[in-house]
């Protein structure tokens, strides 16, 4: 009898334990994996700087949530989908990592998202541009935080159209990202009463853009849109400046422009360029305070993706704290329920499709005379309200949204 009672109580106890385990924090640790390009093309907009932003978030939490330690893993994905996927697979299988942050090259992110969805973990995407991540490729496991191609092309193209640029020439990178950007721009231009008079798709990556710039000059377009990113965009802009593209009356519109790009090209080349950004360090006291802390650690000012890594991690950790759980769906529900109010976004909202919608900003690069310091680079022209900036749910093809 005694043995039986003991057995029953053990079973009951085990049952209790397992039921609390679901609402508790597995392994008594919150494990965060930071996966990004640490050495290649996208290093400066994510890379070691993003890892530092993640560490800042963890430190601001005192290194623990409800007495449970926060542990960080990090790896370089080399912008290769297989490398990224293998790393994440290993993190989840062997280290039981709860959430993946960073995440830059769209191709890598797509591969990682599949694993994260299979294993029911979470991914907080700060670096990727493609708007398809929360459209046809959405999942209940990843969230897209900072910006996307829809918001950028929409913001910039519309603003330039309103200023009277009707005839467009599009210079696009010849791969999935460039094509989708080209389609997004074309749509905005045509619905806004403009016309795409010419376009050229350049190989990715390209070393020399003079030929394409000459074609753009010959097209007679009023606006030349750059549907590329990183080194290609930098290169195209520099070439355009040498060939006197803007002096001959044509306007340049960069679609995916980061602070580090403008910084590296210098204001002589980039002045007057219109762009859309999700965040800028010099907007208010809160952003400046955070940016200065970051600057002290990294030696550069943060780009919007760095700020996004910090913001998304803080929001995640807050949800873990309140639910006292690291179960992905419990945390996600809490993250969706709570508005995002921090130095990155005001009244930001995480939608059911994984898109974090927040105000975007139309900015213009300052002239050398306007700029007062090394990182004083943007003028914020106006705010693009969150509901206009992102693709409305009514147009969504996401499987989680019933349309």
């Amino acid at each position: 009898m005694k043995g039986l009672r003991k057995a029953i109580s053990l079973i009951v106890a085990a049952g209790l334990l397992s039921s609390t385990a679901q609402a508790a924090i597995s392994d008594d640790e919150i494990r965060i994996g930071y996966l990004a390009d640490m050495s290649g093309t996208y290093r400066d907009l994510s890379g070691p700087g993003g890892l530092e932003a993640l560490k800042m978030a963890v430190e601001d939490f005192g290194g623990q949530v409800n007495g449970k330690k926060i542990v960080i893993f990090n790896a370089d994905d080399l912008n290769k989908p297989d490398v990224g996927a293998n790393t994440v697979r290993q993190w989840i299988d062997e280290k039981n990592v709860d959430v993946i942050t960073g995440l830059v090259a769209t191709s890598v992110v797509m591969a990682v998202n599949k694993i994260v969805e299979q294993e029911n973990k979470l991914a907080l995407i700060s670096g990727s541009a493609s708007s398809s991540l929360t459209n046809e490729h959405c999942s209940p496991n990843h969230m897209h935080w900072v910006y996307d191609t829809y918001a950028l092309s929409n913001g910039t193209a519309r603003a330039v159209l309103e200023e009277g640029g009707k005839d467009w020439f599009i210079l696009a990178a010849d791969y999935a990202f460039g094509h989708s950007l080209e389609a997004d721009i074309t749509k905005v231009v045509e619905t806004g009463g403009g016309k795409v008079v010419g376009k050229v798709r350049h190989p990715f990556p390209s070393n020399d853009f003079s030929s394409y710039i000459l074609q753009a000059q010959g097209s007679g377009a009023e606006v030349v849109a750059l549907a590329n990113a990183g080194a290609d965009m930098v290169n195209a802009l520099q070439t355009a400046s040498q060939f006197g593209l803007t002096q001959s009356g044509q306007k340049l519109a960069g679609m995916v422009v980061f602070l580090n790009d403008v910084h590296s090209m210098g204001l002589d080349v980039t002045q007057g360029l219109m762009l859309t950004t999700g965040w800028y360090w010099d907007m208010n006291d809160e952003t400046r305070e955070w940016a200065n802390r970051y600057h002290k650690r990294v030696g550069r000012m943060p780009s919007m993706t760095h700020a996004g890594v910090y913001s998304s991690t803080i929001h995640y950790l807050n949800a873990v704290k309140e639910t006292d759980s690291d179960d992905s769906q419990v945390v996600r529900a809490k993250m969706i329920e709570t508005p995002i109010n921090d130095m990155f976004a005001k009244n930001g909202k995480l939608r059911e499709d994984g898109r974090m919608v927040h105000d975007m900003y139309l900015a213009q690069v300052k002239t050398p005379a306007e700029s007062k310091s090394e990182w004083d680079l943007y003028k914020i022209l106006r705010t693009i309200p969150a509901d206009q900036a992102y693709r409305p749910l009514a147009e969504s093809q996401c499987k989680l949204i019933k349309n």
Binding site: G40, R201, P203, N207, S211, G218, Q242, S264, G266, D268
Partner: protein
């Protein structure tokens, strides 16, 4: 306006001129590779890194020492040439006579290390180098706006290429060099210091790469990856021209620039591939390259 193959003649002329400018870079870089391969039989994968070093020396000497562009045109090749000589003397010399693969791996490893160090210090975005005042602006050629700097690139690159060719093919020093390539042991027996000749040759090849780097600094972003991107194309150019052929490297460099320029007008998607396509064709028809000697 005259139309040729559906493209206005003026546009075509502009593109050909641009192609020639890119070709000038290819010619400078492949010339260095060809010289090094000719004498050392080393497939120099560090060439892209040396080109990048040239651009960085230009940039950093301006930022920290206030050295202007014109002085950098000499300073950068000199500095990088010395680095090259050190590489030859202390590293490459140790594997003389080994299989090609050793030289290839050694220089490739070196390139990775040098580029990795620069990424660590300067990031990947790189910086821009201000255009020298004398070369700002441009000429209106009627069919296109030609920035002065691009005109300068083509003129200076052609002069350097020609001088190099002349030195190797028409002077006594060049004849030693060529003889050293054919039979180093015999040359040594004649009392010529072949090891020194080899060191100087590698140094000169490195200096040529650095010179191209200085020319590139004001028009392309100066970044650690700038050489790696270009190197593969330049290797294709050397293969098309014929490994080790001096004139072959120069002419093929310019020719490939032109072909690439035309591709950018008619089918831009293939612009990065067209040189490799030519390479495959040449290898099929003339395995030794357009200017190479069949052995």
């Amino acid at each position: 306006m005259t139309i040729l193959f559906g493209v206005p003649l003026s546009v075509l002329l502009g593109q050909l001129l641009l192609g020639l400018i890119n070709g000038a870079f290819y010619a400078l870089l492949s010339l260095g590779l060809a010289i090094i391969f000719g004498l050392l039989r080393i497939i120099n994968f560090a060439h892209g890194a040396l080109y990048m070093l040239g651009a960085f020396v230009t940039l950093l000497s301006l930022q920290y020492l206030g050295v202007n562009y014109w002085f950098a045109l000499f300073l950068a090749p000199l500095t990088v040439g010395l680095v090259g000589m050190a590489i030859e003397k202390y590293l490459l010399r140790r594997i003389t006579g080994e299989d090609h693969l050793y030289g290839l791996l050694l220089t490739f490893g070196l390139a990775l290390i040098i580029e990795g160090l620069f990424v660590k210090v300067f990031g990947v975005s790189g910086s821009s180098y201000p255009m020298p005042d004398a070369l700002k602006g441009g000429f209106n050629l009627g069919f296109m706006f030609l920035p002065k700097y691009r005109a300068w690139v083509i003129v200076s690159a052609l002069i350097v290429c020609f001088v190099t060719w002349y030195m190797i093919e028409r002077t006594r020093l060049g004849s030693y060099l060529r003889a050293g390539t054919e039979n180093p042991k015999l040359m040594q027996a004649f009392g010529i210091n072949v090891p020194l000749l080899v060191t100087l040759t590698y140094g000169y090849g490195a200096a040529l790469a650095a010179f191209a780097g200085v020319l590139a600094a004001p028009i392309y972003p100066v970044s650690p990856g700038m050489g790696a991107n270009l190197l593969i194309v330049v290797f294709a150019v050397v293969v098309i021209g014929g490994m080790g052929s001096i004139m072959g490297a120069i002419v093929t460099g310019l020719l490939m620039g032109l072909i690439e320029g035309l591709t950018k007008v008619f089918y831009p998607e293939a612009a990065n591939t067209v040189i490799f396509l030519v390479m495959v064709l040449v290898l099929l028809v003339r395995p030794a390259g357009l200017f190479g000697k069949e052995t």
